[in-house]
Symmetry: C2
Subunit: 147 residues, 2 copies
Amino acid sequence: MENIFTDDYFMRKALQEAEFAFDKGEIPVGAVIVIDNKVIARSHNLTEMLNDVTAHAEMQSITAAANFLGGKYLKQCTLYVTLEPCQMCAGALYWSQITKIVFGATDDQRGYRAMGITLHPKTAVVSGVLATEAAELMQRFFQQRRK
Amino acid sequence: MENIFTDDYFMRKALQEAEFAFDKGEIPVGAVIVIDNKVIARSHNLTEMLNDVTAHAEMQSITAAANFLGGKYLKQCTLYVTLEPCQMCAGALYWSQITKIVFGATDDQRGYRAMGITLHPKTAVVSGVLATEAAELMQRFFQQRRK
């Protein structure tokens, strides 16, 4: 039997979250955290609604996943996020010791790689999963804002 | 008349917060955010109690100050924190465009400078304020934990 629980499968759920952000006028970034093929946290950017620069999708999912697990370390967990994490989120992911990060579109300006951030040595990274869809949603958002 | 609202004055309040953290068995870091000589946020590290790696003193104060101000940017604000911010907190401070950061003890392992983080170009930094007191509290904490 084919494994349906691919990176694409979970990234589609993160993209769905990004669309919820889009609909609220938030920069459309979405995230889910998965353990044993189960989604234990899902969130989208809420910086405008909450008036809070810390309310990135990743930060909310890290808090929610730790709450679900009853422990602050996200070992065995994978984060799916539609956009490359910024230095704040990369810093939080570092502390969480998360096992794997899968992101979609790259962020050449504020992404953690452009900002010179090092992730935790235990953390594996996969990039470019459904990157076109994630980038297209971002472009649509900024085009609409310029109107 | 002498100005009582010095960096030392507000750092003492951050140190008081760090002591609250110490009393709870948390790594003793405290922070306050000040605007026009008024404390609008105060917090201490709660990562153990909340099971949340994002619950650093700075992160909580950023959220609280933005909530108080009704806007996500912390222009005209100064953060006082007893320990040099980590990369997560430095990333959040970057997004907040905070005017000034004053910290006490340096963190040569996980501090934002050791991790190669750049703060926002608009942010001024003062380091070493009541550094001895802050470092002594940290040492006392880790000595006690080793027992």
